[in-house]
Amino acid sequence: MSKFRVTMTVLGLALAATTAWGAGVHPGKESIEKSGYKGPETCEECHPGSAKGFLDTVHWKHASKVTNVEGLNPKEEYGMKNRIYVMCNGNDIVNNLKEIPKSPVTGKSKFSGCNTCHPGNHLSDVGSTGAAAEAAVDCLVCHSTDYDFRQRKPFKNEKGEVVMGQDRSVKAALAIGKPTVKNCMVCHEAAGGGVIVKRGFTFTKETDAHAAKGLVCVDCHKAKNHKMPTGHDPNNWANDGVFVSCSDASCHGVKPHKDADLNRHCAKIACQTCHITRTGGAFAKDFTVWEQTPDKFYEPTTLKKEANETTPVYAWYNGTVKNAPHFIGPKGSKKDGKSKITPFKIFQGKAYYNKRTGELLSMDFAQPMSNGDTRAGVLSAAKTLGLKNPEKIAKEAVPGWQTIYFGSNHLVTKTKALYCANCHAPNGVLNFKDLGYTDKEILKLTSPELFMEKLAQKQKEDW
């Protein structure tokens, strides 16, 4: 094909698409109306390769190679599939979706498992490949605005296998579009065991400057071939190798302010430090003691706050991560020339440690959820992972705390952004001493000398 013809074809297609989009209608609608929706194969007619491509993403694999975290094998893949930490003491492997043992009180069971947050059908599970996996992708959970979530539930099929249901109705397939905030929040909102537990943010016009402007998740997380850009949250390990940052040239650049004083600070201070001054969600969980809920099942004891109800902790961060049994968080220092002062959502969790190795153990939730027996959960997980002497490990396991730093990258504010005195007054939000400043430097950094003139001028203008 000549270059000209390619251009013309692309232009023609684009034009057709734009006109169709102008009316807000997915160009594939008519065809789907006629021939029905049979899953990804229907989409593949016009979007060839999309299902196969999807299988090679974090959203399908819940894992990827990870290069910035210490102590990992560079040849292995890591993510929610196999990670062991104290936000979710289970993972897709040890806490695989299943029917939990019947409650000794009510005689009832229920389905539970980490891989409920996977767009497959569980028969084709996290990381599966091949034709069956391609056919199992739930395209509509991310692309339909008319999805019936009663369908997205685990059930047992005639063979007794546990299947994750999907809405594959024509009705849902007729409402195709680019993912809305809701499509993403289906999973992201309730990660970690309940609404806002893990991430601590809501994305509404009240809580986020970008939401107030009508932006949606994928305006920033612009995916190509379903590779979803992410950042460097020390506890978001799996990534598709593409990244997004506030200071990307296509967003704000490195000098976004008219005020040169603010721009100068960007060399040492992350945008989030001034623009995301609050956080929320769970701040402590105890996986060694589960609380009975009214339905007589059990849940890990969890302390939590609303979005914007807690304050972050600040640390130097150079993008690499310390990964120890009792701490997973940012590495960096004032002196390395690469770090910036960055805000984090701090979280602490109590779980069991291996008495012999000191390593954090993981837990299957089925047993504790049924009867509160947390060591039985440790035993089941140790067996699944093929640890030697699982009974001994579970019996001797030692409870202990792990501190985790999560990135805090949403809940952006302009009007409440930190200004000079929020940091440079003696009661400012930064603890300069902990951040490595000398007493002499601190004296200077906490003197009104730095901001007196500027703030006096501003005060005059404001009134």
Partner: protein
């Protein structure tokens, strides 16, 4: 001295008035509860309001909650929240109605 006393009395009366008024209208008083949904009533796709009946875990009593925020209404419409779900709810009594200020499923993944 006399003047000071009368000012104080005035302040006290004013404060009392505010308190009384406050409690009568019960404005700003949020009631918290956790309960299981026994019924959701919503009038179609464009509904701007819905009611959900929650059975309070503590008292076992049924409380009818009026829901007006778009996010929760949407969750009723697409069935992300359904009967049988356990809910953490905060509400305020306004004109005799229990108006929801927070309506969250307790479970997650």
């Amino acid at each position: 001295m006399k003047k000071a006393v009368s000012v104080m009395v005035l302040v006290a009366v004013a404060a009392l008035a505010i308190l009384c008024f406050g409690s009568v209208a019960s404005a700003g008083e949020e009631i918290k509860m956790v309960g299981v949904i026994t019924k959701i009533e919503i009038a179609g796709k464009d509904a701007k309001t819905a009611t959900a009946t929650l059975k309070d875990n503590k008292t076992e009593q049924s409380v009818v909650i009026t829901v007006e925020d778009d996010l929760t209404l949407d969750k009723f419409k697409d069935h992300r929240i359904v009967e049988g779900d356990e809910i953490r709810c905060k509400y305020e009594v306004i004109d005799g109605k229990n108006v929801s200020k927070l309506f969250r499923k307790t479970a997650g993944c």
